[in-house]
Amino acid sequence: MNSDSADHLLRVEDVHKRYGREEVLRGVSFTMERADTKVIIGASGTGKSTLLRCINKLTDPDQGRVWLENQEITGRRAPVNRIRSQMGFVFQDFNLFTHLPALDNVRIGPQRVKGIRRREATTLAQEALATVGLKEKAQSYPAQLSGGQQQRVAIARALAMSPKLMLFDEPTSALDPELIGEVLEVMVKLAKEGMTMLVVSHEMGFARTVADEIIFMEGGVILEQAPPESMFRNPQHKRTGEFLRKISDLYGESE
């Protein structure tokens, strides 16, 4: 293995993915360090979500390698479940477990995957719910929560596993506008507390506030990668500038 892979928290190397005739990812490489927050932007269909899913192997990449610290999840005999349990994943449409109250949704990971005893797992779950500000909703079922609350429970569910990295796949896209703020607030808080986060999102306000870097994807490759201010002020590619202008018109540049 490459000796320097242990130096990065995440290392993605030349990932390809094809669906039928369409090559969605055409060789993506980048690295992340501890406490980094990176935001991936790009038009729909450019492979952003596929890339996130290739990182924790919810989707199998056709080619390329992914390391979390020194563990290669793409290795032939990799303990995929164990490596995956160290990466939190937050979905666009929450995907909470319908049959479980919020507390159980958050507790089931530590209890069943990590084998933590029920009492300690309960404490962990309560703490995670407190972090997202939903301690008082512990006994509510998903159907009894608003979209914003469901997404915060989903974040707590991922947090309770004490992940090394959190992957967010358009976490606010399915939310009514008035519910977006409460979710972003939690994410900003996590970023500031030093969580390593890779976020697919068009929330430019969020990107400008917390992102160390913005990754602009187009046609299945990373076209440009830079800190938010320099990318906004001085995009290297014409397409990047066009996209940033379009997205700023649509979403507004600031919070």
Partner: protein
């Protein structure tokens, strides 16, 4: 001709014994059928290739042929190749194999109506496929399957009456025997019908109670809300 309806209370203990046999038969075949049906449904949802095709062929065969024919094959056919069962066991085997095919379809429908995003979410936590099925899919599917499953229970209880043809003294069998001696066909079979009906009603209400008992807000057959 005697136009009076007569019911002899002395018949009741024997009819009750028959009813117990009917309930044992139905209970045994439903339990066996549930276990086999669950495995078949998992094979049909989660596997490909030979296992999938075998499970599918099984379901097609047992749903596509009459239960009575299946019973005849098992009780009168199999002894030809040296496999011989007591009548009661033949009944349990035939009905169990048959209901397994139907239950497999009910389980399959319920499993498939659990939203696939939840499976992804479970895997993203690091759960194995087996843990995902056990902790996420089945707890929801088993709740959703209660209504179609209660129909199956009612069907099996009623269709179990065919086993009198291979000599089992179930409720129907006892009714036949007594009526053949007393010639009180109308009275006897009305009583037999009422006894089936009573059990069906009690079990239907019990399962409705269970359904309400394990109800979870937002869990519906489509798995979606709003």
């Amino acid at each position: 001709m005697d136009m009076q309806l007569v019911f002899d209370w002395a018949w009741l203990p024997r009819l009750s014994d028959g009813l117990i046999v009917t309930m044992q038969l139905t209970g045994a075949c439903l339990a066996g059928g549930a276990a086999l049906g669950l495995l078949l449904s998992l094979a049909r949802v989660y596997t490909r290739g030979p296992v999938y095709w075998l499970a599918s062929a099984y379901v097609q065969f047992f749903r596509g042929t009459p239960l009575l024919v299946q019973l005849m094959i098992i009780h009168f056919g199999l002894p030809t190749v040296g496999i011989r069962f007591e009548p009661f066991i033949s009944g349990v085997v035939a009905m169990g194999l048959n209901t397994a095919a139907y239950q497999a379809e009910y389980f399959r429908g319920a499993i498939q109506s659990v939203r696939s995003g939840q499976t992804l979410a479970a895997r993203s936590l690091g759960m194995s496929p087996l843990q995902t099925v056990r902790y996420i899919v089945l707890p929801q599917a088993l709740r959703l399957v209660i209504p179609p499953w209660s129909n199956e229970l009612v069907y099996m209880l009623k269709y179990s009456s065919i086993v009198y043809m291979i000599g089992v003294s179930d409720l129907m069998g006892v009714g036949r025997t007594i009526s053949a001696r007393s010639f009180r066909f109308l009275e006897l079979f009305i009583v037999v019908a009422m006894m089936y009906l009573a059990v069906v009603l009690i079990l239907t209400f019990a399962l409705r109670w269970l359904e309400r008992r394990v109800h979870v807000p937002g869990l519906t057959t489509t798995g979606r809300r709003g």
